[in-house]
């Protein structure tokens, strides 16, 4: 069981992945294993990530924990890892089981939380806040065009919302490119057209917080339900301040922590489930104030 774990993230320039990195660190520390973390510049750098993955294999790690940017970009590297007998963990669940089967790649286990479900949880909460028979315009701020994570969250949200509260009309679903400023501008623009906006769902917390600033600067603070995804520390602060309504926390810290712990088990020959689902939770002001939710410990 000597040797390093290779951990390949998407990017670290994002609190979500930062928190996951911290989780990995803590997990490795408590399990007493060596590891090295690599990441690429952005969560769109698919080919670079493949190149980094190949390079990591040169260091002959004992296990690879990879958060693939999309369902295919790491495949050649993963099959190379399999050939040299390195177990692979799918961090954050970006790999498609069907494709893995087609490629003949067997992974040790999959760990993460479901982005589709996270989006749906956002819709649940919005419907709960506004009421199932509520009517009014809703804005969706997407991530970067073509980004899988963002797409899943947005799809989950809009599908569930249509089910739960058909009166809430999604009037626009626009790309914020993960950029706070762009999200703020989009919010401004849509407020012009729909001053009676009742809800905003953003595909991550950063954009949600940009939207918050626009809503407050536009004098509509408190009237619009704004929901982000991730559960960042600054989102938590904003919720505490009564600005952001809620964030669907994915507990990335916990994902990182459990990933390493379970790899250690795999290497020790123990059994682990194929899919370790880390729950998501909706962070709201009440929950934060109450502070009783056990999962809160893992919110970073």
């Amino acid at each position: 069981q000597d040797g390093e774990y290779g951990i390949l993230m998407k990017t670290l320039a994002n609190p979500f992945w930062g928190a996951m990195g911290t989780g990995v660190e803590d997990g490795a520390q408590s399990a007493g294993v060596e590891y090295f973390i690599q990441a690429v510049e952005s969560d769109q750098a698919a080919e670079q990530q493949l190149n980094v993955c190949n390079t990591m294999l040169q260091r002959e790690p004992v296990a690879m924990i990879t958060a693939a940017i999309n369902s295919t970009n790491l495949l050649p590297c993963l099959s190379a890892a399999q050939e040299s007998g390195v177990p692979v963990v799918d961090l954050d669940g970006n790999l498609d089981p069907a494709i893995l089967e087609a490629e003949g790649i067997e992974i040790a286990f999959r760990i993460g939380s479901d982005n589709l479900a996270a989006g749906a949880q956002g819709a649940d909460y919005m419907a709960e806040q506004l009421g199932a028979d509520a009517t009014g315009p809703v804005l969706i701020i997407e991530g970067l065009s073509g980004n899988m994570t963002g797409q899943a969250r947005v799809t989950g949200f809009s599908e569930r919302l249509a089910e739960l509260a058909p009166g809430l009309e999604v009037v626009a679903s626009l790309p914020g490119d993960w950029d706070r400023g762009k999200a703020a501008t989009i919010t401004n623009d849509i407020l012009i057209r729909h001053p009676d906006l009742v809800g905003i769902f953003a595909a991550n917390d950063g954009m949600a917080l940009g939207a918050v600033e626009s809503v407050f600067a536009g004098g509509r603070g408190g009237d619009v339900v704004i929901i982000g995804v991730d559960g960042n520390s600054d989102a938590v602060r904003s919720i505490n301040d009564g600005r952001l309504t809620a964030s669907v926390a994915q507990l990335p810290y916990l994902v990182g922590l459990q990933a390493v712990e379970n790899v250690a088990k795999v290497l020790a020959g123990e059994d682990v489930p194929d899919f370790i689902q880390v729950p998501t939770m909706v962070l709201t002001q009440e929950i934060l104030e109450a502070g009783t939710e056990p999962m809160l410990e893992f919110v970073r």
Partner: protein
């Protein structure tokens, strides 16, 4: 550059008296090409027809607000490009500045004024290093500023540990969200910056040397002007303006975001070029750049109001961009260029 006209250039149409005179006056007095204004107005008319929400004071303020950050960056780009240089680090330096400002004002807890100084100083310092490397070490501007792009972004991430620094003092937030007389502060700051910079580029010696260096560096050197020093000042100015943009962005979103400004340099350069700046130097106008930035702002705003779907937005922006510049420069292309 082209002293010889191509064989298939046609004769210019007979000048339409009034239009020609207005054009010449605008160019001569204001250093603004009237055509780009026409394109801007045309775009506004189209948007008004397409969307009932477009034509309103609040939407115009909204467009101006959305243009503020990019507008300031585009002004920075105009200075450097019209001198024959290039600054690819604008977006990163903007991100770095915001983080430094927020770090000073939040993490260190210094008074708001220091936050502003932090932004500007961080930007100017990065710009100074760019200028120094370009002129003294003689490394091409493309490489230097691309290197700075990586350096500044990395530094911003290191300082902020990859997280946003949230929760600025109220005075700072006012700079981004305040609305004296109902007009957003960033709009005031953008317009004031644009006017001051326009004066600087169009009417002062400094501006003349900037354009002349972009036109023929050797000629400027023979005139006894210190070209190297001038370039260093230009890059420093450009960095300082990126710092200002960083401050605006930070104040607007009430946080120092290490990933702010990603790929903004391209948009900024685009606005400058739409505004008539010559990518190879020698020509440039801040008012033109402002118009260019507004053209892009109106386009983006219109597409948002129309709720055009994201894939199609990218395509529409690309196509309209080409078309706008085509129309804008149609006439000057038909006439002889130098």
């Amino acid at each position: 550059m082209m002293s010889i006209e191509t064989a298939n250039t046609k004769r210019a149409p007979a000048p339409v008296g009034l239009w020609r005179r207005a054009q010449a006056a605008s160019q001569e007095r204001l250093h603004l090409r009237l055509e780009s204004l026409v394109v801007l107005v045309g775009l506004c008319v189209i948007m008004t027809v397409l969307s009932p929400f477009f034509l309103s004071v609040s939407n115009f303020l909204n467009i101006l607000l959305a243009t503020a950050t990019i507008g300031v960056l585009a002004i920075a780009a105009t200075f450097v490009i019209s001198s024959g240089g290039l600054d690819l680090s604008l977006g990163s330096v903007m991100g770095l500045s915001g983080v430094v400002g927020a770090y000073v004002a939040v993490t260190l807890g210094a008074p708001a004024g220091f936050g502003v100084v932090g932004c500007l100083a961080a930007g100017a310092a990065a710009g100074f290093i760019n200028g120094w490397l370009v002129t003294r070490a003689g490394v091409p501007a493309f490489i230097v500023t691309l290197g700075m792009l990586g350096l500044a972004r990395g530094l911003a991430l290191v300082i902020s540990d990859g997280r946003v620094i949230y929760g600025l003092p109220a005075e700072l937030v006012y700079l981004g969200q305040g609305r004296p007389f109902g007009i957003p502060m960033p709009v005031f700051i953008l317009l004031a910056t644009a006017l001051a910079c326009h004066y600087l580029l169009a009417y002062t010696r400094f501006g003349r040397y900037t354009l002349a260096i972009g036109d023929n560096e050797t000629a400027v050197r023979t005139a006894g002007i210190k070209v190297e020093r001038h370039r260093v000042i230009l890059y420093t100015l450009s960095g300082g303006l990126a710092g200002l943009a960083g401050m605006l962005f930070m104040a607007r979103i009430n946080a120092g975001d290490p990933t702010a400004g990603l790929t903004y340099e391209l948009t900024a350069i685009t606005a400058a070029i739409i505004g008539g700046t010559n990518l190879f130097g020698g020509r440039g106008s801040i008012l033109g750049t402002l118009v260019g930035a507004l053209i892009m702002g109106v386009l983006q705003n219109g597409l948002n109001l129309l709720a055009v779907q994201s894939y199609y937005q990218q395509m529409a922006i690309g196509a309209v961009l080409i078309l706008a510049v085509f129309i804008d420069q149609y006439q000057s292309r038909r006439e002889t260029r130098v």
